[in-house]
Symmetry: C2
Subunit: 340 residues, 2 copies
């Protein structure tokens, strides 16, 4: 125990002994990366199968506040990158974690964040194998920013993507929409809102693998993070040159999220999620997927919310409760900053 | 050309159309990552050889100022991660790049940084295959922070590391020390110093591959970044439980760096480098390495600066110009913040 400080100082970023102590006691003692070198060196049996591909992804996390009901920035950082790998059909294997820490950051909070990351990584079956820390002066960052990158393996024959979408495909989500965005909004000082909502933040590797098993012809999947379901669908519609039709009557929304959106004049379709994905299957395989997902804690609320069409390429439309139809456009501007 | 803004706004981080335009026009049009999905999917022939290993590393860059003589934060972000892979004996293949951008950041500057990254990546033979952007409010970050992660392949039979060091091994550097640290120091408003110094920032994959070819029994290598040569040697000495002896008379230092250190009371052994590595070879293979490196632009100033000893395990000592010896300890505290 060489680290006696309670808060991070500039010396913890200087490349010397203080940095070594911080890294050892707060980070590597918990993550226990393999080896002592500054890089992880990994054997990859799974990659040696002919046709296997490596998946590689990265995300920075700048959420404010750093801790919120249902998670913290560390949970987001692990689940976000695990999910980016999973929705592409990859089995997540390794993560890197790079921390940009503001001078004055409380070390006890860093330890809590690191403990969350460690627990989430173990639960998702991934290892945090390498990392970095930088310290910037007070006011040059906001508490802590975390960037994770992930490496996974896509098994031979697995090929998910917008290009595989077909008219008629079912659109499936794994649970209620907008919980994360609504939780962060309620947690901000900006709005004096009381709420029992919790973030949906969760690793979705299990959901994806269940969906892939239940639907051999699964077409594509996306996690609905920043910009929400609407942005994910618009991107896919644009890439696939196909349209999408949502059925408002079946959209899974908690009453609290609906209420918060009504008060604030927001559309829940654009609220961020951190444990929700949308996936696409041939219509005849949709029920099997929904049934399979409903057996998982992260998929309890799974349901079909619409279908793919060739009637209005590139456009997402919603059949409203009143029998009309409205266009669900790409988000213009910014609904809520620093959501992830 | 949908992007008409000259400065980044919060909308550019919101997950909607503004973000998509920024990413397309500033980032992906330049980097041209493979595929349209949110993850890179890569075939890895080199990993299919029995015994090959994957190398994986990450670093955040928070240098201030963002642009300086000899480089910018983008050059650091590419070279730093390429070098982390290279000094471990890996062939660098792919990079990810995650940007945390402060609201108000000039888009023209972002374009310059991205152009540098693209040029450096091409020169180093790596591809920037995936990325992320986040925007935080004015004052919540300082301009732009970049986190790169790197994936490379370690060929079968290659195994560098501190554990392979032996007493008698030669200690070799590839050129003058401290140029990067001195350049950043001179560029800061804090000191009213005029200087023609430029950062040594460079990708060292060529230097490493020349060293590995010239010395079949090369033991280990490290890049001398934050904390300088002294910190790199102390870490290796501690890990290897061996001592190191440096010869002050042969240490390569530019007169300007020496002068700046004298004025400011700094030790050049602790100054950061971004294009310097230290490597260790059996004594009889050292000359071949030095000769090979000197043929390369990044290795012109290569020389032997000392040797490994079992006389004082874990300790780095320097034979001074005056015939004495002093201990070169691990850096305590912080010599210069935000150097990389």
């Amino acid at each position: 125990m060489a680290l006696r400080d309670t808060h991070v100082t500039m010396a913890h970023g200087g490349g010397g002994r203080a940095m070594r102590d911080l890294i050892a006691e707060v980070f590597t003692d918990v993550f226990q990366p393999p080896g002592h070198e500054d890089q992880a060196r990994l054997m990859v049996d799974a990659l040696q199968k002919p046709g296997a591909r490596l998946a590689f992804t990265t995300d920075s996390f700048v959420v404010s506040p750093l801790e919120f009901r249902g998670g913290d920035i560390g949970k987001l950082a692990v689940c976000g990158t695990v999910n980016d790998l999973a929705v592409g059909g990859a089995r997540p294997l390794w993560l890197s974690a790079a921390f940009i820490i503001e001078e004055g950051c409380e070390i006890a909070m860093l330890r809590r964040i690191v403990a969350t990351m460690d627990a989430e990584a173990r639960a998702a079956g991934v290892t945090i194998v390498t990392g970095d820390t930088k310290v910037v002066e007070r006011g040059a960052a906001d508490g802590v920013f975390i960037t994770t990158s992930g490496v996974g393996v896509i098994a031979p024959g697995v090929d998910l993507g917008a290009a595989h979408l077909r008219a008629g495909d079912a659109i499936i989500v794994n649970g209620p929409l907008g919980d994360h965005g609504a939780t962060i909004m309620a947690a901000r000082g900006d709005f004096a809102l009381q709420s029992t909502l919790a973030s949906d933040c969760a690793a979705l590797h299990g959901v994806m693998s269940a969906a892939m098993q239940a639907a051999p012809d699964i077409r594509a999947a996306r996690d609905c993070t920043r910009g929400g379901l609407a942005s994910a669908l618009n991107e896919l519609a644009s890439d696939a040159k196909l349209g999408m039709v949502l059925d408002e009557a079946v959209l899974p929304l908690r009453d609290e999220v609906r209420g918060l959106c009504e008060i604030l004049g927001l559309d829940p379709l654009y609220l961020a999620n951190e444990g929700r994905l949308v996936c696409f299957t041939p219509p005849e395989q949709a029920e099997a997927v929904v049934t399979a997902l409903q057996t998982l804690p992260e998929g309890q609320g799974a349901c079909v919310i619409g279908h793919v069409t060739d009637a209005h390429p590139g456009q997402v439309r919603m059949q409203t409760l009143f029998g009309g139809a409205r266009i669900v456009d790409m988000l213009i501007g910014d609904q809520l900053p620093r959501i992830c």
